[in-house]
Symmetry: C2
Subunit: 322 residues, 2 copies
């Protein structure tokens, strides 16, 4: 579901939706259908919110260009979601069946490529600087994904390595979105840098909270099963803390996390161990720290109304339950 | 293997290889490895040849920009090859194990996205026109793929529909490569249009010959098994002709083509029926017609040396056995 919060940019977000819908139209009905299904299954549209708030906060006035690039970024993000689901076998996304489950792997893979191409079709029209930042974020994202895959079931993973992966996979794309928003808004170098740093810290916070929700959330609210990270062997900050904070649960947890094939009762047991280990609270503290750091970067002069929006966003990203 | 022919652009092609190799370097060694494996397994590099020849034929002189865009196009092409193999379960490509077979589906899918991102990273720096043409070709390509999937095992497919699919999937990308080459070469509108039309017809010829080789080629020369189209249920021009040219083989062939699961003896039998139906000769005639049409489009004034290269390329594409 889209964010219920009002950041003073709801008209712009509507225009983003319209622009995206326009881009999905293909002569191939099946392609339009899959792409629309993916995009319609919604998401919080956090990326367009970041870009648009950064645009206005940096002094931007006429938002057409920012709306274009925000649409491009959201299209590319949706492309990666389709491919992600194929990769990790995710069967539900935002309460709806994953695209590859509904339409098949082959057609969904192509639909992902189609969303990429549409995103780049819009995004490629911008200046070298904007294109460079956006494409670089896609490169980082792929690198982050590979890094995560490489570290599956690695029970020796350190918190710093996890943060590096998350930075590449989630935070750099959000940071880039803030950066291009600020550039298009005509921001000073200091503003552009501050907003990019804000986005980076916001992105890390966002991912840690995502990982926490995968442990303590409910399928009804999340729209997808919990315990996905455990099932896949993805060592997020919560197991990393649980394995290293001296808690009694460490050994039993380590044994489950190392298993190549985990039963559903393994997953349930691991979730129980994680919840009792104190690691969720530690991870929440870390997320809080990134949210606060994000807000600290807003100390450069910014347009007040939208600076407040960015603060509200950093609070929401930390406190959200979905 | 790369084209053995000399088109007078071998230095430029070397620079394309260097540029591509540069782009593949990632901090994630596994990503560099997969991407390099894919690109190294070679291919004929026909797309860079088209772009560079069109550039010089249209009067281009300093080739740096054409080399950049040719590299971007080849990167994107390689991205689609990785994803294609995942889609159609191709286990061999150019005599080497497919990337997804060697490295796994997940990592290869991401490596494909990485190649896309790297391609757009270079390509996005160009003018709106060049970016627009390139991104549009990627959109067409995805549409063509979906169209082909939609028509699997459709024994009523008509030749015109096949040509439409091939146009989207193969010919538009080649045409776009010729077009951006001509634009960067400073070609007149007439030259740009003529070279785009050349590329379009060359692309259709290229795909028909590919389809013929899948019937009459050998695994040793092709570097991949023959009969792939039959196995997948992909109705190319050869079965379309065989089913409609009044040949005795039509009914037996139709029965095999309709099967969802085909045994290897089904495939061998279908290949035999195709070879005896006269359809290969008909398809070769059609390919010849597209090659001739491609060359006819070169009647606008062009730089002679490179016009000759384009003629040679159209002959090669028709006559090639690999």
């Amino acid at each position: 579901m889209p964010l219920a919060l009002d950041f003073g940019i709801s008209k712009e977000l509507e225009r983003v939706e319209e622009r995206i819908a326009e881009c999905l139209k293909s002569n191939e009905d099946l392609l339009t259908e899959i792409a629309s299904y993916v995009v319609r299954s919604g998401g919080k549209r956090i990326r367009p919110v970041i870009t648009l708030l950064a645009f206005y906060a940096a002094g931007g006035e006429e938002p057409s260009e920012a709306i274009e690039i925000a649409s491009a970024i959201e299209l590319i993000h949706n492309a990666t979601l389709v491919h992600d689901d194929i990769n990790d076998g995710g069967t539900l996304r935002r309460g709806m069946e994953s695209a590859y489950k509904k339409f098949g792997v082959g057609t969904s893979l192509v639909a992902g490529d189609y969303l990429f191409a549409r995103g780049f079709e819009i995004g490629g029209r911008f200046s070298d600087k904007v294109v460079g930042v956006t494409a670089r974020a896609c490169v980082n994202l792929a690198e982050g994904e590979i890094r995560q895959m490489r570290n599956l079931r690695n029970v020796d993973l350190r918190a710093e390595e996890y943060i590096d992966t998350v930075t590449m996979k989630t935070a750099m794309p959000m940071s880039s979105g803030a950066k291009v928003g600020a550039i298009l808004g005509g921001g000073t170098d200091a503003q552009v840098k501050a907003l990019a740093d804000y986005g980076l810290n916001l992105g890390i916070c966002f991912q840690i909270v995502d990982d926490i929700l995968d442990v303590i959330g409910t399928e009804a609210v999340l729209g997808k099963p919990v315990g996905t990270d455990i099932r896949e062997g993805n060592l997020t900050l919560i197991p990393i803390f649980a394995l290293s904070n001296g808690s009694e649960e460490a050994d039993a947890l380590r044994a489950i996390l190392r298993k190549e094939e985990k039963t559903e009762s393994d997953v349930a047991e691991a979730l129980r161990l994680l919840k009792e280990s104190g690691a969720v609270e530690q991870a929440r503290e870390a997320a809080g720290e990134y949210s606060r750091t994000a807000k600290k970067h807003l100390s450069v002069p910014l347009v007040e109304e939208f600076e407040e929006g960015l603060v509200k966003l950093a609070d929401f990203v930390l406190e959200r339950s979905y």
